[in-house]
């Protein structure tokens, strides 16, 4: 099954590269996505099927959560992408479709890889396949964004590689062989050399933090998210970041098993709260609503890292937040993409009254804003609330207080921009543009929002069990 999940999209990518019709090629996306989703569900339902012939490829409980989230998000985004590309027949979508499909395979590899080196390779590969996606619009701005995405991302990921090597050396130093598979690392974690482990953790935190977009390594994020098409933004904010977080989660797991909680939680809390603060600061007065979404992503990566820093009591909320954040980001980026399309601008100077011009997208954008800022009854509320409760459980009242305060700052910053976009009177003569909400560009967002809402009101028992398993796994209680 692992090979289906990983290789099938890659094969489809090759087919996409071979198909000649610019018009029909995008339909390969939903096909691959549906197959992938079906395979994912089969694997998840199968329970024990999370293993494969290769020992490095294991689908562990945290991996399941990320795989499910990414697969669902991709499935819905793929339909949207068809609708989107229909409006972009001016450009060849060969590279776009191929890269998007390859991206799905690479991301599946991240979730399956149980070898830290392999995981690094997969994450680096995800950087490379997404770069052409960001460059899709072929403008000066998109080149600049791609350049920064690639270079900052590569530097960060290089540090992660160094960190991985450090980690390997930590186990080598402990006299262990066959280093870097997660199993062996976890098995002998307490014996790992502490100085190497600490240095490795810092490098990995910075490295994968760069991919996640933690401040201050987030600098590429507003550029890339701002210039990429909405659907790519959704996949970056809901897919790449989740995978990078999964990587960090595995590192956390090793350090936790090594009994280094005190060391790592300091660093994690610092980075998390710092990211939330930076996101808040840059969101206030933000006029570009897609860049604003990028900062929102920075904020939510901060939330995830804070949850990780709190440790065991907040793990449940953190893992749930991976799901809720990823799906909500989909709602936001896709609806923002529609608005961007209709107005041919993403500055609040021009974009006003989206609820009038695009009743559906405007409403979804507004609802997505309320969801992502943690308003009940949407999913992110439950997960953020769980993290807060975890903080209090751990006796970290100051962290909890700062967490809430930054949420308020972000709400204010984000709300001002969102309301400017959706409210008011639409400009009487918008830029010549005939985009209006259609089924393909509307329905997937509605579905995503419905999922987000559902997660806030009712979490199905299997999902709860999945998250519970993951928590137990991370706590080494499994």
């Amino acid at each position: 099954m692992a090979f289906v999940l990983i290789c099938f999209p890659v094969v489809m990518a090759a087919i996409a590269a071979a198909v000649a019709s610019n018009r029909w090629r995008p339909w390969l996306l939903p096909v691959a996505a549906i197959v992938h989703l079906a395979a994912t569900v089969t694997v998840l339902a199968g329970g024990a099927a999370g293993s494969s012939p290769v020992p490095w490829l294991v689908l562990d409980p945290p991996g399941r959560i990320v795989l499910l989230q990414v697969s669902v998000l991709f499935a819905l985004c793929s339909f949207y992408a068809v609708g989107y590309l229909r409006y972009r027949q001016d450009q060849s979508n060969r590279v776009f479709c191929a890269c998007l499909l390859a991206f799905l395979g690479v991301i599946s590899l991240v979730t399956w890889s149980h070898h830290l080196g392999l995981m690094w390779v997969a994450i680096e590969a995800s950087t490379l396949v997404t770069a052409p996606l960001i460059y899709f619009n072929r403008t000066q701005r998109s080149i600049e964004a791609t350049w920064k995405y690639l270079l900052v991302g590569s530097v960060g990921i290089a540090l992660a590689l160094l960190g991985t090597f450090f980690l390997a050396y930590a186990s080598l130093h402990a006299g262990l062989d066959s280093a870097l598979t997660l199993e062996s690392m976890l098995g002998h974690a307490p014996r790992l050399s502490k100085p190497w482990l600490h240095a490795a953790f810092v490098l990995l935190l910075v490295g994968y933090g760069t991919k996640m977009g933690l401040a201050p390594m987030h600098t590429w994020k507003p550029d890339a998210y701002g210039e990429a098409p909405g659907v790519v933004g959704a996949m970056l904010a809901g897919g790449v970041t989740s995978c990078a977080f999964l990587a960090l989660l595995r590192v956390y797991h090793v350090c936790h098993a090594a009994g280094e909680d005190a060391y790592i939680s300091r660093l994690l809390l610092f980075m998390g709260l710092f990211s939330m603060a930076v996101a808040g600061v840059f969101m206030v007065g933000q006029r570009d609503f897609k860049r604003m979404l990028a900062y929102s992503s920075v904020e939510h990566m901060g939330i995830l890292v804070v949850g990780l820093g709190i440790g065991a009591p907040a793990l449940f909320g953190t893992l749930l937040h991976v799901l809720t954040n990823g799906l909500t980001k989909g709602v936001l980026f896709l609806s923002a993409g529609n608005i961007h399309r209709a107005y041919a601008s993403k500055s609040t100077d021009q974009v006003r009254g989206a609820m009038q011009l695009l009743p559906l997208s405007g409403t979804l954008f507004l609802a997505g804003f309320l969801a992502i800022t943690g308003s009940p009854p949407f999913g992110p509320f439950i997960s953020e609330f769980a993290i807060l409760n975890g903080a209090f459980d751990a006796g970290r009242f100051v962290t909890g207080g700062l967490f809430l305060f930054f949420l308020l700052v972000v709400f204010i910053g984000m709300g001002a921009t969102v309301l400017q976009v959706v409210q008011g009177r639409a400009p009487s003569e918008p830029e010549r543009n005939d985009y209006r909400d259609g089924v393909l560009t509307g329905a997937p967002i509605v579905a995503l929002l419905a999922l987000v809402l559902a997660l806030g009101l009712y979490i199905p028992a299997p999902l709860l069990a999945m998250i519970g398993d993951a928590v137990a796994f991370l706590e080494n209680r499994a």
């Binding site: 900052v152 810092v202 390594m217 308003s375 009940p376 909890g400």
Partner: protein, 664 residues
Amino acid sequence: MSATWNILAAIVVLGLSGLPAYLLPARSETGQRVATAAMVAGSLLGLCGVAGGVGGAIPSVAGAAWGLPYGRFSVAIDAVSAVFLALVFVVPALGSIYGLGYWGHAQHRGTGRRLGLFYGLLAGSMALVLIARDGVLFLIAWEAMAMAAYFAASVEEDDPAVRRAGWVYLIATHAGTLCLIAMFALWRQATGSFALEPAPAMAAGLASAIFVLALFGFGFKAGLMPLHVWLPGAHSAAPSHVSAVMSGVMLKMGVYGIVRMTALLPVGPPWWGGTLLVAGAITGLAGIAFAIGQHDLKRLLAYSSIENIGIIAMGLGLAVLGRALGRPEWVLLGLGGALLHTINHGLFKPLLFLGAGAVIHCVHTRELDRLGGLARRMPAVTGLFVIGSVAICALPPLNGFASEWLIYLGLFRTVGLGGEPGFAPAAVAAVVLAMIGAMAVACFAKLIGTVFLGSARSDASQHGHDPTATMMGPMIVLAFGCVCLGLFPSIAIAPLEDASRTWAALAESTPISLAAVAPLGWISAAGLGLVAVVATFALISRITPRAGAVAEAGTWDCGYARPDRRMQYTGSSLGATLVDLFGLVVWPRNHQPAIHGLFPGSATFKSVVADTVLDRLVLPFFRAAGRYMSMFRVFQQAQMQSYVLYVLTIVIVLMVWGTMGAEP
């Protein structure tokens, strides 16, 4: 049990009442009628449930496990909820009927359905807030209410002023919600679950932290000063029947929250009650002082709501104090008064807002100094407005008096009657209440004088007529309620007593009762006596033969032959002295031209009463914060070099930060 189901059904009907209209065209009146019918039906259903739930001896509870990691779907009605539920099931339905005439779908094609949708949702979620017995369910209902109110109030978002008011509201409500989120998280720390059941015991510090968070979280919604910042703007921006519901009912959800949490927490230290008393006194006094200074009809009413919330908070503070000091009679009088005032304010404030709506509907301005002389053109509305004003000034024989009277009685008892132990500082609140009362008279005399009396101050206000029956009906019902509760306040005594006993968990055997400490029967008698005397005088003036001989003439203007409508005393000047007396708080700003020479040219005078907290404190702070925050943008100026440097820097910082932690 069935009562709970009744109410749940009512919530569903109310919450979804706006949906059917979406199946019909935007301008269809039928959709609106269906929504109104659903509102009325749902409210009646709910009222049946309340009646059943209060009649039943045991509190009816319904609970179900729920697919959330936290929380259960757990609801219950008790005597405290019932008091507030009664309000929820009366005012929104009346407002909805009023809306048929006021916000007809045919005239408001773009906004009618949306307003209907959120209006119903607002009513339904408020009812859910009142019966929720689980923290997470409560938060969900609370946020639904806050958001529905936001969308209902900012339905005219074309107008920048409405957007701004809505935005301030949104920030305030979100800040409040975050306080509540923290509060419930602490509640779980203290009790181990989110169940809203009386906590046996907890650490004093934790209990106080929960209390303070509740005070802030709910204070934002109720409008306690200085957390009231959103209230005047939102109320003046909203359509009048939405203002009526917000002011009459939604603010009370904040009150309910404080009532509920103080009941659930263990008996706290006296400073809880003291804080509430002080907050109430400040809110009441500052609220009415600001109200007097307003130039906008609906902003004035909104500030008056703040004042009334202050009065309610004073009663509540007295009850909390009484509970802390073990004085059941303070509890009965304080909470009884607070709850009765909640109901009363829920009757007369909607009446006033609907009346204001009727005025605005005809005259199309809310500016006081452009109104005037409407009493001749809108006699019925004027009469109803006078009833509402007399009631809100707490003047006998209407209902406002009864509730304030209860609070007064309680506060007088804190002075230590005849040397029994008391808590004399609390008694000062009675003096503050007296001052509030006197200023309320000033405020509403000004309001009635400038809106309805005299002659029209602008051409706009020369038109006008009493509105249609759909708009008059709800106002008449509300006025009738004011009169009824004013003349016969004892009909409320049983529910109030129940609620107070439930709240303070007083044993059945406690030998004290509300009826014993507050002879409400005398209020009825004295009130009826007053009505009788007035009626007699009126009759005498009718039948006296001379009375018919009436000549008409212009107003005597001390010899000036050509009085002009612009020579009338304006609303601003009516309140000027009081506003100046409270200048430190109200901070009026007068733009007064200097006049020189013998024949000065034309000049204009302008006075502005901004909200001190919002316009002089909060907004400047936000602007400054925004400026400082934008300074950080130098860090994101597109140079790759600096971006890479950040990465290197953070590696070094983390390495150092990590080793620093390892040392101790």
